[in-house]
């Protein structure tokens, strides 16, 4: 049966979060999103829908963006997680964060962390020019209920253009 010792209900996980070693005992049903917010108190990562539709909880796991609400904390064991807190510091803003500020790409800010992480992956994984259409496609999995997206697209395109 599933209460056999081969199946566990809690586990010790060891991982790197924003470059820092973390060791914690977690319930196996703990979502990575809740682990980041509740256990590690890193609250830039937001949880909107809990089923992968809104994109607010997007983080980088082992070099690739993931929905932290669709990943268990135990699945990050031995891995590396980067949240928005790992993107530069408030005194030395990441170019994307700076561009969001300059283009007023934020209203309530709830979706911003997921937007920035998805945009960062797009910039890092795309060679050559990035069109507004390209950005719209890449960000189509990140919902914003305030801005109407135009300023967000402008902000990402401006960073892409400076990079070329």
């Amino acid at each position: 049966m599933s209460n056999h010792p081969a199946f566990v209900e809690t586990m010790t996980v060891r991982l790197k979060v924003n470059g820092r070693e973390v060791v914690r005992e977690v319930s196996v049903r703990r979502l990575l999103a809740d682990f980041i917010r509740e256990d590690l108190r890193l609250t830039a990562t937001h949880l909107g829908c809990d089923h992968g539709a809104c994109g607010a909880c997007t983080v980088i796991l082992n070099g690739a963006s993931v929905r932290s609400c669709l990943t268990l904390a135990v699945q990050a064991d031995g891995g590396e997680v980067t949240t928005l807190e790992g993107f530069g510091s408030d005194g030395d803003l990441d170019p994307l964060r700076q561009a969001f500020r300059e283009h007023h790409a934020i209203q309530c800010g709830f979706c911003t962390s997921g937007m920035l992480i998805t945009a960062r992956e797009l910039l890092d994984s795309t060679r050559g020019p990035i069109s507004p259409e390209h950005v719209r496609h890449a960000l189509s999995g990140n919902l914003c209920r305030c801005t109407g997206y135009a300023n967000i697209i402008d902000a990402v395109v401006s960073v892409a253009a400076r990079r070329d």
């Binding site: 081969a6 992968g52 669709l70 268990l72």
Partner: protein, 290 residues
Amino acid sequence: MKPAPFSYAAPKSLEEVFDLIELADGNARLLAGGQSLIPMLNLRQLRPAALIDLTRVSELSRLRREGGDLHLGAMVRHSEVESSSFVAKTHSILGRAASEIGHAAIRNRGTIGGSLALGDPAGEFPLVAAILGASITLRSRTRTRAVSAADFYFGAFRSVIEPDEILTEVAFPALPPRTTWGFQELCRRPHDFAIAAVGATITFDSHGRISRAAIGLGGVDETVILAADAAASLIGTEGTKTSIAVAAQAASLECKPVSDVRASADYRRQITRVLTARVLQEAVEKSKAS
């Protein structure tokens, strides 16, 4: 919305997976990429007693070629299929189909085996597997069997996988020479669930006539289906606008779409005709270009 309590195991080999399946005695779910299973757990649509996480079973993540056939392990991620030059070299339709699944963060986790095992009638991989005549390998501790993709589903989200089996691999046969393909789907928002999806391969003989065709329809029936009449109508033609229109019309009559919150049955049928014409045109144009 958090998963109900479950117990968990993360085996490293298939042998261990079989041990755990036996121990769990029908009460466990296999966790592949989790992009459909975890939402169902979060919404508490499913409350399995245990999860067997396949992430660390490295033998399930292999890509290899045997003869001209492309074999993809069940845990190969959508993003890998999308970007792999190894895959694109012989089966570029797979990368195209993978690129339509969810969003980047979903494709980075979701797996081809998970998608095939789930059997969403609008799923991209069940659709291309049917079109390409793929063979899906199921293994239990005592037996290994290969099931053709066309015989794999008997209803929405219902497949022939037995409780003691695990989907380990899918093999895509080499495409015959002078074969081109088309793939398109209609979504309200880019990368959302498809209202309808259509894919096709066509093979021309040395005289420029179609000698072989496969047309697959997704999201417009209980399972993904092959539009056999539509494909047959193309044989011997040169893929002209007229023959494409005939095939598209036939395809729209071969499916049994339902009405739901996304679209009415009539609209789906109409879209099936339009998309079929477009993918066939896409395939014909590619053959002219090559």
